[in-house]
Symmetry: C2
Subunit: 444 residues, 2 copies
């Protein structure tokens, strides 16, 4: 079968996420036959550089031989077991290494990012309740995105996803964000944040943030001192800090976790996406012994955290996560190729070089009249076009141009961004950037 | 390493779902080394019959050779691709066959049951909004359970999971349930349901139900005419019906889906758990063209359903789901063994025999003084003990007795239930039931 036939068959039954399905009357829905490295290949042999890591999940390439091997090994012993009252080797291993890596004490498991956010919110609220306080509000940041289940959506602020549902969301309080990455704007925003804290803190369980980059929020970036200042406000006003590192964790921002750059330890951290190297849904909520102890008591006191999902700590997804952490530990780049048992640059070192290279190549976007700003934080790079009205759908035009020229870009409104797998090579970066450049130029 | 050492290592870092962690000061947390068929095996060689299908997910046994093979094949082509703007062969196949199997038109994907419930709720609310109506309330049943993210928890009614969070939940209206499986009680409950519909329907988007069995709600069961009557009320008052078949779907109640027995077509159906044969997290929301069309319009009208999860329609999980449906289509039992290319009994036929056998063997529980009722719906069988006060934790005593004797039972309060994989054999059933019998008897 060719692309078109498969697309028609798909559109008859499948309803796609984050999509106005009528768009596919003119926009091709691309059926992918296979993936390898940074490339996705359709049923007609066209290849696309996955410049967005398939929604920011893939780190070490499609069909990664090492992760494949580890999942196959897991299939030979245990595909799944209930995680209440039971455990398995992979979870014991992952629990220990993720706590040591993040400097947290305890890990709670779920399947996707939204669920992890829901858990962090509930755990924070429940902590205060177990301590005799009712704090039904949450602080979150202007322009934030934390997922789209009711709780996660409630602490988000992207109108496109949220406004429709306002009558069925729970209440949260929004804190203004810095206008840009500068120290000055961070300080201004912190001043405003203080006012909000002063006014509401007594009824607030936690502040949830995406440290350094608000990815779904049009790749807006802020200085690490903003994160540091928010941590200080949380300390001062006795409010938990939840760092949602679902999109920014695992080396994406230049350090292993975004909070590292602000030298901040949150009370909760949520992880997902890159956690399994882009293979399988799995998410984690990390927290401290202080939180854990508030739930630890005799059963009859009814203070336990009884949240659950059927596939909690699924052994196959955990095998992918452990394999991903193995690569972070043992993987070395040598002449742009990732090896597992050789000398070379660490992943983080290599990412620094890669992002420097991308940044250098991106400078020429400044010459385009329809580009307002370029910005970068580690392996996240963004080009913001001028404020085209949303009905013009300029981003969509860039998307179409990209696909026709072998690059999967998926702009957010007027913002084009690069968030490729870490194994991308210079020549692939050149192509990715050239195609984006020509696409934006064609709109001038 | 032996069980105890692994348990200690686990308890240092992992926080388990639905668990008062302090219980593990006296209750062993069992580390599972491998699974095969109905058995789980720990690190000291003890085997346990998985009488609860690892939280109701496993259908055709642990380490199922056919599902293993299909996941391995998928690993060789495509582990994952973004599902917005893209598709893949497995999703095209699953979309078509699940719609045909359920008689629905469209399928939307997520990762776990809670997320599917959140999607169904949002989609129903959004449908009415796209039609100019604001209907912020939901109907749900007394004693219901639909998951534990904020939206899903809001439409649930099990106090143990819900009460703590009441200040951060959205509003729902509860409809009384029948006292037992009889037609009379169903009729009485429908009469009360009518009163609730009459009073609130204008502000209500949907009624969500678990058809036939409220699994987490202590395995309470009702007659199919209750489901039929609720569908009629939904029609009369123009409210959507969401059938949550996450736990009861895929042959669990004796028919492929529980709604089949009531001859009811809901507006939305949520599926998960058994969907992947117990392998990987994946969930679906099925709906009709009527619903779909309310979202289908020009992008700029902003009526699209923009919900998304990173791993939507993950190809590996879908490979497991397609393999599971293959087994339903081609699998035949012959002398209690499941074959893929032989003549024999279909899965559903075999399940009927199995559940009849279980029911027959369960009769002797009636002789126990501390048993109040036994009940069964297809492959779900429950024994309700007398109303021991919750602090006595009699269920936990049955759980401990089960583990010591090689059977994983996981009572819900005073209710002991059997929900084994469909491949369980008569001699395994005998053991499962004998152990449960002795456990309950020991409490007399």
């Amino acid at each position: 079968m060719k692309n078109y036939e498969i697309m028609q068959k798909d559109l008859k039954y499948n309803w796609h996420p984050c999509t106005q399905m009528k768009d596919h009357e003119f926009l091709p829905l691309i059926p992918i036959k296979k993936g390898e490295g940074v490339y996705l290949e359709d049923f007609e042999g066209n290849k696309y550089i996955d410049a967005i890591s398939s929604w920011w999940v893939n780190l070490f390439g499609h069909k990664n031989p090492y992760i494949n091997k580890k999942i196959k090994e897991q299939l030979e012993t245990l595909e799944h077991v209930i995680f209440a009252g039971f455990t398995h080797e992979g979870a014991v291993k992952l629990g220990e290494r993720i706590c040591k890596l993040t400097n947290f004490d305890k890990v709670f498991y779920a399947d996707n990012g939204s669920s992890a956010v829901e858990i962090a919110i509930k755990m924070s609220f429940h902590f205060w309740k177990n301590n005799g306080l009712i704090r039904p509000l949450f602080f979150s940041l202007e322009n934030s995105y934390h997922g789209e289940t009711i709780g996660a959506l409630s602490v988000g602020d992207v109108g496109l996803y949220k406004d429709t549902y306002k009558e069925i969301l729970i209440k949260n309080i929004t804190i203004p964000i810095p206008k840009d990455k500068s120290v000055e704007e961070a300080k201004k925003a912190l001043k405003k944040a203080r006012e909000v804290f002063e006014r509401y803190h007594q009824n607030v369980s936690a502040l949830i943030i995406e440290p350094l980059v608000q990815c779904a929020g049009y790749m807006k970036m802020h200085h690490p001192i903003f994160v540091k200042g928010l941590r200080e406000l949380c300390n001062e006003f006795n409010v938990h800090l939840i760092a949602d590192e679902i999109a920014v964790g695992f080396g994406r921002t230049g350090s292993m976790f975004a909070c590292n750059q602000a030298n901040v330890k949150p009370d909760f951290m949520t992880l997902s996406k890159g956690l399994t190297g882009g293979y399988l849904p799995l998410s984690l909520v990390l927290t401290t012994n202080k939180i854990y102890q508030a739930f630890y008591c005799d059963y009859k006191e009814l203070k336990a955290f009884l949240h659950s999902h059927s596939y909690t700590a699924n052994p196959l997804a955990i095998a992918a996560a452990n394999a991903t952490l193995d690569i972070f530990e043992k993987g070395k780049f040598k002449n742009e190729i990732l090896f597992y048992d050789e000398e070379g640059e660490s992943i983080i070192e290599h990412n620094k070089k890669t992002s420097n290279y991308i940044w250098e190549k991106m400078q020429r976007f400044k010459d385009l009249k329809n580009v307002k700003e370029i910005r970068q934080t580690g392996m996240i790079s963004a080009i913001e076009m001028i404020d085209y009205p949303f009905e013009k759908r300029m981003g969509l035009k860039v998307y179409e141009y990209g696909l026709k020229n072998g690059v999967l870009l998926r702009p957010l409104g007027n913002v084009i961004y690069f968030m490729p797998p870490y194994i991308i090579k210079k020549e692939e970066i050149d192509k990715m950037i050239n195609v984006a450049f020509e696409a934006i130029k064609s709109l001038e």
